[in-house]
């Protein structure tokens, strides 16, 4: 009962270097294995190959074999493959094709050719197992990230594959949901014998759940087999893994709290008449860094959406005593925002123009653009589209583009979403330096409590419809 990989070489493009370089490994179904390593080391690629998605959907396998329980997953049709391997993805928003939770679960059973009379009982059982019976009739787009991942787990419970592969399943969900899902995964492994192989940058949610941790580096699997109780913190840190309890050690100048630049009074947001939060009050000072934490679905993204003009709000949001929604066009750049996906921020056709937009009208705009792009090591890519950059490069460009503006407040919704430790630290260092050096109020949300603790001057928790200091 194992996944066996032998001398695997894989690339996404014929003329590029291999992303997996002669990789050999074996994972046993009796153990929960976590595969970790820095961004771009090839761990997700390996998972997609084991799931039979690659090379069918993308890439070229130059040599080697992948077999799951002795069968090549890419040789099977989807309806046969789903009995062998199931997969949970990083982005909970793009995993469903039906409208409600109930319909999505029925869709899985229909694909398995389950007799109609047995379907509803199985759906009820799967929902009960994942403790989401109350969500049965809810529409999928109304669910939070954590709830969606629980629905995805219910789908996997119904499909009951021999192996369950998970690609950063906790990247965008709160700790409580992550712990609950991890516990259920352990139950599936121990009671139903489903093999679990997960890819994750963060190990804290797997403590007490995983049996072993393997590390990938530059397309190969390192020989160390670590037990979660005896993790080699120094090695993992060096390889870009977010290790539980290991501080980020930011080197930031001390905070010099300035004037209150952003003031929230009785701020309220509702979606389709359902109040998300009702009474948010807070003062944000220039030069200070604020982390906003809270459980999945508590309204963090709605709060950031309201501040960035995405949602209408009740109450007051005052930037230097002027209502945010009434700011004139020329003043709009005073509140910068960094989104989870850097692609959401791009407004230009080339990397150079992306920076130039913010410097428009300045006499030395071209020289400053060059300086900024050289600073973030993107000068050589200046004439290509921002969409052609790698994810890490896009993130750097997104942050740098905002730095060209005279921002008073920087609003960042999960700026380190799905980033490894090194990228996380680089992004946060850049943002925090901006806050300190230019007297900007930096407000960021995160599920990583260590990150909040290490970088923020103040941690605020969104709870019960309001914001309170932790």
């Amino acid at each position: 009962m194992s996944i066996r990989i032998e001398h695997l070489k894989f690339t996404y493009f014929e003329d590029r270097k291999d992303i997996l370089c002669d990789l050999s490994a074996e994972f046993d179904a009796g153990e929960i294995t976590i595969l970790t390593g820095s961004s771009g080391c090839g761990k997700s690629t390996l998972l997609y190959l084991a799931a039979g998605i690659y090379p069918h959907s993308a890439g070229i396998r130059r040599s080697g074999t992948v077999s799951v329980e002795g069968v090549r997953p890419d040789s099977l049709t989807p309806s046969k493959r789903c009995h062998l391997v199931g997969m949970m993805f990083q982005n909970p928003e793009l995993q469903f094709c039906m409208d409600t939770v109930e319909h999505e679960l029925l869709f899985c059973l229909e694909n398995l050719c389950t007799p109609r009379e047995k379907m509803m009982t199985q759906v009820e059982e799967a929902l009960a197992f994942c403790e989401i019976s109350h969500l049965k009739k809810r529409t999928l787009h109304s669910l939070s990230g954590g709830e969606r991942q629980k629905v995805m787990l219910a789908c996997m419970t119904l499909l009951s594959p021999k192996w369950l592969l998970l690609d950063e399943p906790f990247a965008n969900i709160d700790d409580a949901s992550a712990r609950m899902i991890a516990g259920k995964l352990k139950e599936l492994n121990r009671t139903k014998g489903i093999g679990i192989l997960a890819v994750d940058h963060r190990l804290e949610n797997w403590l007490g759940i995983a049996d072993q941790v393997r590390v990938m580096e530059n397309g190969v699997l390192r020989p160390e087999v670590m037990d979660v109780s005896t993790l080699d913190g120094a090695l993992l840190k060096e390889l870009g893994v977010i290790v539980p309890g290991e501080a980020y050690e930011p080197e930031l100048p001390a905070a010099k709290p300035g004037e209150v630049v952003l003031k929230l009074r009785h701020l309220a947001v509702k979606h389709e008449n359902n109040p998300i939060f009702t009474d948010v009050n807070a003062d944000f000072r220039s030069g200070c860094i604020y982390a906003i934490v809270g459980e999945s679905g508590c309204g963090k993204s709605s709060l950031f959406g309201a501040l960035s003009g995405l949602y209408s709000y009740g109450g007051q949001a005052l930037l230097e005593n002027r209502e945010l929604r009434k700011l004139r066009k020329k003043e709009l750049g005073k509140v910068g925002f960094v989104t989870q996906n850097p692609q959401d921020q791009f407004v230009s056709d080339t990397v150079r123009e992306e920076i130039l937009v913010g410097l428009k009208g300045q006499p030395d705009a071209e020289a400053k653009t060059e300086e900024i792009l050289r600073g973030i090591k993107l000068w050589r890519y200046r004439d290509i589209s921002p969409y052609m950059l790698s994810q890490g490069q896009q993130r750097r460009l997104g942050v740098a583009a905002l730095m060209a503006y005279p921002c008073k407040a920087l609003v960042c919704d999960e700026p380190t979403y799905a980033q490894d430790r090194n990228n996380t630290a680089a992004i946060m260092d850049a943002l925090c330096r901006q806050a300190r050096e230019h007297g900007v109020a930096l407000i960021f949300s995160t599920h990583d409590r260590q990150l909040a603790k290490d970088y923020a001057d103040q941690i605020l928790e969104l709870k019960g419809g309001g914001l309170c200091v932790r």
């Binding site: 989807p78 789903c82 982005n91 793009l94 694909n111 709009l332 692609q343 407004v347």
Partner: protein
């Protein structure tokens, strides 16, 4: 209306619109519109929803009335009434144009507001033999729609935050959406496959969408009714 088979309902209402297209009769148009409104209210469509949806339609109808009123077949027109379906009476011509807008809107609302989209796609798959890939692809795209709207708002907010003003359907706004939609379609297809969907193999159905006697009766009743009014 909600219990009718969606594919049969679609065919029935298509027949009605087909008849309407070849008749130039305001009485027929207004009768169809009135029947549609009555059927919508009986089907528990909220009057407020209906009222809001009717607002732009009424505006269009008023516009069409004046178009018909102004361009009736009088001496100033380079055509004669006999050549085209244009009346000599200005008011009659205006009412005929306006009532056409109302009748078509009524039929359209009757279908869209009383049909469950999942049932509709399943019904099209079953009765019209729509390929599974199309049917479930359509449902998946529908599921992504709220996210696409959100993404559009997000992109607009990004432009606003950078001090750039763009008109609502600017290519600059559409480009990021196009790039993302390609990625979404790839991710969705992979997610559907990982749940055992191939689009070619046999599946069972929890909700079997059948054609009942009432669906045939509805078809015969509607077609007969518009034919009677046409005469």
């Amino acid at each position: 209306m909600r219990t009718l088979n969606p594919a049969m309902k679609f065919v029935t209402l298509l027949c009605v619109t087909f008849v309407l297209a070849f008749r130039y009769n305001p009485v027929l148009n207004l009768a169809v519109f009135a029947l549609c409104m009555a059927a919508l209210l009986i089907s528990r469509v909220k009057p407020k929803t209906l009222g809001l949806l009717m607002l732009p339609i009424l505006l269009a109808a008023v516009g069409m009335f004046f178009t018909g009123y102004r361009f009736s077949a009088d001496a100033s027109m380079p055509v004669a009434a006999a050549d085209f379906l244009v009346s000599n009476s200005q008011v009659w011509n205006g009412v005929a144009q306006a009532s056409r807008v109302l009748a078509y809107a009524g039929v359209g609302f009757l279908f869209t507001l009383t049909t469950d989209r999942i049932l509709m796609v399943k019904s099209f798959e079953k009765q019209f033999h729509l390929p599974q890939v199309w049917a479930y692809g359509l449902l998946a795209a529908w599921g992504v729609f709220p996210q696409a709207v959100q993404e559009y708002k997000r992109t607009r907010a990004a432009f606003r935050a950078r001090g750039l003003s763009v008109f609502p359907v600017s290519p600059a706004l559409m480009k990021p959406l196009l790039v993302k939609s390609v990625r979404w379609s790839e991710e969705l297809a992979i997610a559907m496959e990982s749940k055992g969907f191939s689009g070619e193999e046999k599946r069972t159905e929890y909700m079997e969408v059948r054609v009942h006697a009432r669906d045939w009766l509805f078809l015969i009743f509607c077609v007969a009714l518009v034919c009677v009014f046409s005469i």
